[in-house]
Amino acid sequence: MVVCCCLGRTATWVSYQLKIHAQKYMRSPLIPEMATQEVQLNETLAHLKSESESLKSKLEEERAKLHDVELHQVAEKVEGLGQFVMKTRRTLKGHGNKVLCMDWCKDKRRIVSSSQDGKVIVWDAFTTNKEHAVTMPCTWVMACAYAPSGCAVACGGLDNKCSVYPLSLDKNENLAAKKKSVAMHTNYLSACSFTNSDMQILTSSGDGTCALWDVESGQLLQSFHGHAADVLCLDLAPSETGNTFVSGGCDKKANVWDMRSGQCIQSFETHESDINSVRYYPSGDAFASGSDDATCRLYDLRADREVAIYSKESIIFGVSSVDFSLSGRLLFGGYNDYTINVWDVLKGTRVSILFGHENRVSTLRVSPDGTAFSTGSWDHTLRIWA
């Protein structure tokens, strides 16, 4: 019976091929103009492909011409950093499963975090008290963000949406009742961020796109196409530097976008695996990325190239999350080997390695005033380090 099925399928395939072949054969002599058109089309495609290749090598050439020195060489005379004493100062316990994302409130003390268990919790990091908790209708809440006003939080994940919850001063009020669905993607939500106000949200998704939404109406304001695979992270440029943001994805690319036009203005492809995290340098002239290839890299936007790699042979686990200290001198990386590595951005060397989490570090953010940084982990906890 299996043989009959195979033969049957082969026969069907053969007759299908004959049909296609017959159609092609029949087209040419009967409709000569279409045949010429097809040839022209193929020529144009080949022409475009070769132009594409030559533009790519021209891009590499132009970038290489300006590569006259390495960042760490420029920083040779800079005083080295001393010993760092950074310890866990607070541990936030309460999530029932892996912590996937967190964000600081502008008030420098509140934190919102989201977890695989579907819960989104708002904490007071000074006292470790939980101020609000929301249960999402989905598990794997991969993204969460605090609104600039401190009056709302946004979150989403496997539900393919980004929802905004206004935070009520009344602790007894049911937050879920006031939920507003803002973004709709066709795959999981990987990251979200409010822009300069509570009115707009930027999202990135497993569907390969990023999008800008109006919170009030839920309307799509701009979409950003260009990644060839899931987009895993995004970061908005510091407000002084204008309307751009950077995104990183499974296609190993980091793209810089113009928020108004939707255009990708610069693209960087030097990582060897998925880019899990991107973060702007405080001046807005560069950004760092963390990848599954176990390296963090620094890309300068005006030199239009990678200018530093932060790696060690002994570090073989992927980086999940990166952030800069206030001056940009330190780069903190949360790794899948449960540690946090602290890098001297200018010299390219590691200045400290921090232990404490009992599973992967999945998210890491420096507080708005730079006095501490927070990490979230698959060990269900968040830690504040200072």
Partner: protein, 72 residues
């Protein structure tokens, strides 16, 4: 389905790719030495304002002093 369906979309994609590459190739670039110097300057100018870098005395850092006993 007519012959023009499939080739047109790959043509459009190829045209988009070339257009994007042209845009990226036309970006104004500066030398790495200049860019690196500016990154270094920014770091050094802001170093004194960076609490995690300089270390802030416990009295100024809300997270540093050990959590005082809380009577429940």
């Amino acid at each position: 389905m007519s012959n023009s369906g499939v080739p047109n979309s790959s043509l459009v994609l190829a045209q988009k790719a070339v257009k994007q590459l042209r845009l990226e190739a036309s970006v104004h670039r500066i030398k790495v030495s200049q860019a690196a110097a500016e990154l270094k300057t920014f770091c050094l100018q802001n170093a004194h304002k960076d609490p995690l870098l300089t270390g802030v005395p416990s009295s100024d850092n809300p997270f540093r002093p050990p959590k005082s006993c809380v009577l429940l």
